[in-house]
């Protein structure tokens, strides 16, 4: 999972598989953002989940949030090659200063 002093993680899967990426955080959080970043481009917000939500879905994406364990996950169902990217979470605690995780590099092979 992402956070702290962990290095950027790497996952390699086959097309059609499901994958889950995890994120843990340490401070008070009202919102968890999940981004994907393609090589050479800026991050793009893909799912935003608030502290009063336990789950959020968007197409093949599913995010969960467990405030008691201070963790969030992002799942991709039936991954496709175009899902290859770096995925990272960010947390915001009621202000506009998000704290970012180091990210998970996902490679989906055909």
């Amino acid at each position: 999972s992402q956070w702290g002093e962990e290095n950027l993680q790497a996952l390699s899967i086959q097309e059609g598989e499901d994958v889950t990426m995890n994120c843990s955080y340490k401070t008070y959080t009202t919102v968890v953002h999940w981004y994907r970043q393609d090589s050479g481009r800026g991050p793009a917000l893909i799912i935003l989940i608030r502290s009063n939500e336990r789950e959020k879905r968007s197409g093949r994406l599913r995010a969960t949030l467990d405030t008691s364990s201070q963790s969030s996950s992002l799942s991709i169902t039936a991954a496709q090659c175009e899902d290859t990217a770096v995925y990272f979470c960010a947390t915001s605690g009621g202000n506009y200063k998000p704290t970012f995780g180091k990210g998970t590099s996902l490679v989906v092979h055909p």
Binding site: R41, G42, L45, A90, N95, Y96, K97, F100, G103
Partner: protein
């Protein structure tokens, strides 16, 4: 979707020089942000800006850094003077005033300080 543009995409300068990074935010957005990402590390918040003022900044936003958006033109990050540790990719983002968690990012400017 809405696009944020950043100019230039790459900038190489000598330590001690001044550099200005330019951001063209989404047209109806009112909140603007700068982030710094050193290669292989996580992105870090620098500053946000609304209504002509810095709203919040991190400890990375040193005294040598300044931001402005004169007359609705580019939102700029100026570093004067630059230091070696300023080498990074700088991302600009913008959002609506009431949707600060939904930020749109530019492609970044890679700054190399020699």
């Amino acid at each position: 979707g809405p696009k944020v543009l950043q100019i230039p995409s790459h900038q190489i300068i000598d330590m001690g020089q001044m550099v200005t990074l330019n951001c063209d935010p989404v047209s109806n957005h009112l909140y603007f942000y700068w982030y710094k990402q050193i290669l292989g590390q996580q992105m870090e918040f620098l500053v946000n800006f609304y209504n002509g003022k810095v709203m919040e900044k991190s400890k990375l936003f040193k005294d040598q850094f300044s931001v402005e958006r004169p007359d609705g033109s580019y939102f700029t990050l100026k570093i004067q003077p630059t230091a070696l540790e300023d080498s990074a990719v700088y991302f600009c983002a913008s959002s609506l005033r009431d949707r600060v968690y939904e930020q749109y990012f530019g492609p970044g400017t890679r700054l190399t300080v020699l």
